[in-house]
Symmetry: C3
Subunit: 306 residues, 3 copies
């Protein structure tokens, strides 16, 4: 039995198969509409994440399966002191596969060790969120046609951004990848990613403070939120905050082929006037998230459709 | 694509078709049991309303469809600052139709402007609650056989009662309607309804303080709750509160054909001894609410069953 | 129409039929996979109980039925002052059968008096939790092959333990039952169970303070949690707490055939090193809970499968 804890759990070949499956689902949804008839997904969300939870639920329902679970820890047995190990053994009696979101790093891994059903890490603290990475990869591959020979910019909070770290770790396994890191000094990519991932894999990268300087060369711009409270002082925040807000005037500097991605929710770091730009892919990304999760559920349940 | 924001979004003819459909559903539920197979409703409830939410969910499930969503704002991305516009674009990837309840007036309208799926306003603050009005009209039409030539009394809090305002606006489009307004001085119907709706449409109406004075002439009595805190002073409340409590002794004054409606939840404004009176229609009204929502979902999804 | 309020609502013969049905479901789940197609369960949980709620939901979904409801009182109309009687009349329009959990004793009984659909008491305060008792009986009968001629130990908080009281009441209807009560003085079985149930039915029983003294003679050990705050003083707690923690060294004293049951959630009263002992039956018990609820739903809906 197989679980998904980290995006790196799948080899590049396995990821390719998964994305091929996701693209076939995209083209022929009706072919998969009953693939999971009689199967059940448990969504165990120890902290709320509506978008991720609903994406998993939509994925399972699109496959003909059913869903049960909880959407916050208040309504779970955790408040009575039950361990994650016990909870997953109980839930193994109720469902065929499980998606777990937990504020503590490693909780889904512990669950997977005691589970009789496949466990998907749906986000564990600041650690991993592998289905977001699958979604990001699928979106890029589907809309750019490839995952190699790409220059990919990451903009915003690169220090705490879990999705940024995971996507970089996944991308360095492809050839011809160049990374451009756009962030304030305070929110630079951590050393352990810069050294152990980028440098260790000989991936060319550069670090800049202003988006404008690098926009023309990007194939993909991955935006994230910059929270005011992460800055050292108010002056820095006021001076720099506009550097990390993408608006139409900045889009004018970019290539007509550049994709804009964002893991959502977006607050104000992408101006709404960008939404109608054909390069804005962050809502398409949500749709690819459903296809990615459908392909993942089928793969972990070892269900083939032909 | 069509949304439902206000009961007046439908013409009288369209409402007639919708109610004909609801009555056919009532008579032949099995005919519609798979009409929405493979379709999905999202219930986006930014404030809790169990009865309305479950009514929508039962309606969709009666049609063979599935449901996902959230039941309060805590568990939604709204708490992370996501706009309603972004949420509906995301939810458009997960579902085929959406029912939105929101504490802010106009939020469902904003959602409908950015949505790729039909949006139903399931109540927006003190503003509109159109499926309650559809329910009320369907209940009256089904049990009285007509929506014209009726004398309809509204009793209780006519100032803040959203359902009262909406139902009056819907009823004035029919012929031969007389309205009787029964409320304390403090809770009279607002001028903008009295003048712009009743007077502007030449609908005869009268305003009284005591139910007993008008009960014998009513075809329908629409009850609402009178909250103590809405009175100017304690003395007024104590003096008048029994005027707005319907009990069996008051029912004895009414016509044997009079219907009693209430949008529920009821607290004590209808005495439980009225529940077994054949004229008490407020629980049948709940059942008609399911039929009305089933007909609405089919209409907005443009699904025909024959 | 029939409800389930107490485990004693079923005669011994009816319980046998129900457990025969549960065992047939266990052996032939696919035979029942569409038994409740088009039927709907409402889960009305006025206080959270994830395990019980998900067990009911899994049971209904295993039968092909659908589920709606709420998982805590915040999100229910109860917060607007609606009575349980009104709520169940409303829910009767939305579902075919209902499971109600309520912090107040007797609330499900009140609901059943006004309901148009079967009501299952899913736990009412410290009073009854009949589906737990069905689960316990089914687990013992399935794994021991019988419900008579058994020596059953109850360990821990026998004073407040609702599941213990209910299971004892159910067991005394079988022949050859011997009961062993293992608890601190402060948490002894209440007189009304000892006198009115055990003595009144001439069921042999003994009361001890330490598990070790009686383990070798038990066919079944039913563990419950001992909460620190239930002790009269800290010294007693420290002196005695280990008496009520089952670990592998205590298991070594027991018969190789003894079953260990626990209603869960477990905190630390069963050491995790016992989990892999073949006599540990508390996770199998969860699975039997699903079968018991499936059999119960079919029985109350009067659905036969052949």
């Amino acid at each position: 039995m197989r679980h998904l804890m980290s995006p790196l759990d799948f080899s590049v070949e396995e990821l390719d198969q998964l994305m091929d499956l996701a693209n076939d689902i995209e083209k022929n949804p009706e072919k998969y509409a009953h693939a999971c008839d009689g199967k059940r997904l448990a969504t165990l969300f120890y902290e709320p994440s509506t978008r991720t939870r609903l994406s998993f639920e939509a994925a399972m329902m699109n496959l003909g399966g059913t869903v049960l679970g909880f959407s916050s820890a208040n309504s779970s047995s955790a408040s009575k002191g039950e361990s994650v190990a016990d909870t997953i053994r109980v839930v193994s009696c109720f469902a065929n596969i499980c998606a777990m979101r937990h504020p503590k790093e490693g909780a889904p891994l512990v669950a997977s060790m005691y589970s009789r059903i496949p466990v998907i890490n749906a986000g564990d603290g600041g650690h991993q969120h592998p289905t977001q990475t699958l979604t990001d990869l699928l979106t890029i591959r589907s809309l750019k046609g490839r995952l190699n020979n790409l220059t990919i910019g990451f903009c915003g909070d690169l220090k705490f951004g879990r999705t940024v770290h995971s996507l970089i770790e996944a991308l360095v396994r492809y050839t011809g990848i160049k990374i451009v890191l756009i962030s304030p000094e305070e929110l630079r990519l951590p050393d352990y990613i810069r050294d152990d991932v980028l440098r260790a894999n000989n991936v060319p990268f550069e670090e800049v403070i202003k988006m404008e300087d690098v926009l023309p060369k990007l194939d993909v711009l991955y935006m994230t939120r910059v929270q005011k409270e992460r800055f050292f002082n108010e002056d820095d925040y006021i001076r720099m905050k506009d550097f990390y807000i993408l608006d139409q005037s900045k889009m004018d500097l970019a290539s007509p082929e550049m994709l804009v991605l964002h893991p959502l929710p977006r607050v104000n770091e992408i101006s709404v006037d960008v939404d109608n730009d054909p390069r804005a892919a962050y809502f398409k990304q949500v749709q690819y998230g459903v296809y990615a999760r459908m392909a993942l559920i089928l793969t972990l349940l070892n269900i083939k459709v032909d």
